[in-house]
Subunit: 528 residues, 2 copies
């Protein structure tokens, strides 16, 4: 056991107390184990992390926000400074391209997100202070005062990593301790991030157990942990099966869980846009569907294409691009097997494979395009809208606008929905007929852009109706909204001013935006 890497518990890197075994990362391009052995933690590690986090929760609740912001900014700077090492580790473990993906897109996105969290912390932007001077009531959002358990996904080794991504930054910003459950696909990347986080935490003077990390534990232990009422909340990004199992356990214990589960992100092409630039669109679609080997939550998994010549031409062009492409490396054998299974499922539900469907060397998978006509889709809408996580998309041919409307109406909740329209507005009647239906099925409605870009913005919604996420009112990306998920609403009734939290007092030296007697103001209350 002494040869296993150390877990981060209670502010110290220490050997797992009760490892149930070990695992190693793999080079997905060659299906070969790489790097050191990491422990699969047992109950003792979990309980030790919980005990330490419970203590840290109290200290964090009352710590000054500027210290939290200081930590987030130090951590962001450390990530930027360590870019070469982080990118090398992540590339080795995920096979995602170094450029532009890891180095120029995901890494800066991750440190930027931590800095935006710091900014929201410094401005109290997530706390929504509301003051009613006449009623003697003052309310704001406050820490949960309990640990937040974050499950990171396989597909963003930095930006959604349980120890560095949006759920992490959000939970810490709200002054809660985080216990990160790294994804076993990229343990060394997660370890390196945790080392940077740990060092930044010591420099910023945060409680030692504010940030902890385990690499792996059995599903059964994970479910038991999700049902532990001592948790304040859970953040999860991953598969629908895993997410729903955790949600059931958490729900039963009254633990709020914010789970991002699955999405096929339908893309509708209105007829005019095919006339305008069908060929270019085929290229745009192909690029979006195969970028990152298609392993995006917002991958365009279904494209609705009008019947007729121009639609046919689009399908031919797209098929050619998919057919000519090299096989794409997936993250793991599990992802590869699930994708084979998903393509089989789509075929069984009535879709025809236009190209692809086969595996390649290592965990490679041939970019795959399937096809089904609109009536067949509607007849088997449930099976045909199952997510296929990887470089796979299903084309649905629609006879006319009413068919598009029926198809839109048949979707379950999704993260995104896209409509491509011609620039001259000639299809805007069709937009007006289709968009309201699609609007209510998705969290983000997109015009003329593939859904794979998820900007870190206060106006982003990386969320959507069930079953794409567990609640349609929340986003996991975009400060300060994502922070609010990990907060409790606190009202003070008739409490003397000197005993109130500073940001609810009359004097407002920090210029916090507050809703005072129905009006937003950053000023003091009274003569101040």
């Amino acid at each position: 056991m002494s040869t296993l890497e150390h877990v981060l518990i209670g502010g110290r890197w220490c050997a797992s107390q009760d490892a149930h075994g070990s695992f190693r990362a793999e080079d997905p391009a060659r299906a070969e184990a790489i790097g050191p052995a990491f422990p699969i933690s047992g109950k003792a590690d979990i309980e030790a992390a919980m005990q330490a986090a419970l203590q840290a929760a109290d200290a964090l609740s009352t710590i000054s926000p500027s210290r939290i912001a200081d930590f987030l900014e130090r951590y962001a700077a450390a990530i930027d400074a360590d870019g070469d090492c982080l990118v090398a580790l992540a590339h080795a473990e995920t096979a995602l391209p170094v450029e532009p993906r890891l180095r120029s897109v995901e890494l800066p996105r991750t440190s930027n997100q931590l800095r935006l969290a710091a900014q929201a912390v410094r401005h109290y932007a997530w706390t929504d202070p509301v003051i009613d001077t006449q009623a003697g009531l003052r309310a704001h959002r406050a820490p949960l005062n309990k640990p937040v358990l974050v499950f990171g996904p396989n597909n963003f080794p930095f930006a959604f990593n349980a120890i560095a991504g949006s759920d992490f930054a959000s939970a810490i910003a709200a002054r809660n301790p985080v216990i990160a459950k790294a994804h076993p696909s990229h343990p060394a990347t997660s370890q390196r991030l945790a080392q940077l986080a740990h060092a930044a935490l010591l420099e910023a003077g945060l409680p030692a157990a504010a940030v902890q990390m385990l690499y792996h534990f059995d599903n059964a232990l994970g479910l038991a942990w999700a049902g532990d009422a001592r948790l304040g909340a859970i953040g999860f990004t991953g598969s629908r099966t895993g997410g729903l199992a955790l949600k059931a356990a958490a729900d039963k214990a009254g633990v709020p869980i914010y789970a991002e589960l699955s999405s096929v992100n339908p893309v509708f092409l209105l007829p005019g846009v095919l006339a305008e630039r069908g060929e270019a669109l085929a290229q745009e679609f192909f690029a979006s569907c195969t970028m990152g080997s298609g392993q995006f939550c917002t991958n365009p998994g279904i494209v609705i294409v009008p019947e007729g010549e121009q639609g046919d031409a689009f399908v031919v062009a797209a098929t050619q691009l998919f057919a000519q492409a090299e096989p794409k490396v997936l993250f793991s054998r599990g992802v590869q097997q699930n994708l084979l299974h998903a393509v089989d499922g789509l075929r069984a539900a009535g879709a025809q494979v236009l190209t692809g469907g086969s595996v390649g060397e290592g965990y490679r998978f041939q970019p795959t395009l399937l096809n089904v006509d609109g009536d067949a889709f509607l007849a088997h809408a449930e099976g045909l809208q199952a997510e296929a996580f990887g470089p796979v998309s299903l084309i649905v041919r629609a006879a006319d606008l009413p068919a598009m409307q029926r198809i839109a109406a048949s979707f379950e909740g999704n993260l995104t929905g896209t409509i491509y329209r011609p620039a001259d507005g000639s299809d805007d009647d069709a937009w007006l007929a289709l968009a309201p239906i699609l609007r209510n099925k998705v969290g983000r409605l997109i015009a003329n852009k593939m859904p794979t870009g998820v900007a870190v913005s206060a106006a982003m919604n990386h969320g959507g109706p069930y079953p794409s996420t567990s609640n349609p009112g929340f986003t996991s990306v975009g400060m300060p909204a994502s922070i609010r998920r990990f907060s409790a609403l606190h009202s003070y009734d008739n409490v003397p001013e000197a005993l109130l939290p500073v940001e609810l007092r009359n004097r407002n030296p920090g210029g916090v935006q507050r809703l005072v007697d129905g009006r937003w103001t950053d000023g003091d209350i009274g003569q101040g």
Copy 2:
């Protein structure tokens, strides 16, 4: 069956299609049935209401907010104008006093709440518009586009009525159809309110099925309905047992449920306040605990009193007041039986009855005070903090400040927590030691006031950590926060301005408060 009262389904008052039986209200003071017979609905009524609501959801999603506000204001005016009748019905069905409770407190509170909802609607205050001009992203809160099922409690025939209370007003304000499940303790009151709502709806030109009401259905049907994924959300106020059963069903189907479940609302008396005005406090406590026969979510169910002479004097004074009081009328035989059972449970867990514990004529119950010492409370904290819904409170004696801290730490989630401190601030060290612990156990922290007053204010929190409610981030009272529960987050990405909802466009003629590029403004965007 033709003699049963009509249900409100699909915009019409009609006979129940499949009544499983009937029930009548009771005069709780005499335990005698009064008024007409109301149907217990079956599956056909439920499905008819669902179908009508699903259709109404689409129409409501796109209706102008001013029409919603118009409905809410007309309904509020109708309630005020019909006060005599409503108060007479509610008094007959609940035995709550006409003055001041029903006529001067609850009725105006209810119409005021509808008007505050209208105001939030007119100002788009619940929609949280966020615009990022550089990223081309614009987000706001929007209707769920699905029906909201509201379960009303027994204890507020107006202000929490499923057809008139905060959940109703909030769900409608967010432009969702409401199916109200009235409480069977006050069917005629609910019927009268529904008639006023229906008339206001026709005048305002809302979709006919925007507001529907059933009086009653079996628990099994209710659970099946809560698990219907066609619902957008559920609002529930009631017992913990019923609420948790509904929550389990809703969670499984991915239906967000906002449930207010139970609370004992601990009240801590610091030593100095007993010295200052112990006698007056005993009176204040007695009045709060017996008002409305103690049938409040925020009833002071546990009072923590320092040991020693002044504490003894407080207990003697309170015991005398409880002993001298007349028996209080409860809402129903069920409430009476549950309360007997709850008092038995407290005794079994180690509490001694100081006075009371017996039933009286009709559904009366003698105001009841129990006592336990601090160590015994801590040894059986789970059983001793079980809610006793009615004019019952448990006094816990605390040896010193550390004992108070341990007692505070032993509480599960509550709606409120109160600390009484002397006006001269001499106990503020004790406040600072105790308040942080209590703060994280409750939604509203109160100083020097009994918890039973729940002001309708934007800074109110009528919510709290589990198991007092299902999520610590939400309040069921206080606009606009309560409205957000019934909304979905919608982001628009790269959508041309003309195709955006009006409140997200550059021009802002309504002066909606919006977060534009990180700054709150009610102005236009660009040169506007």
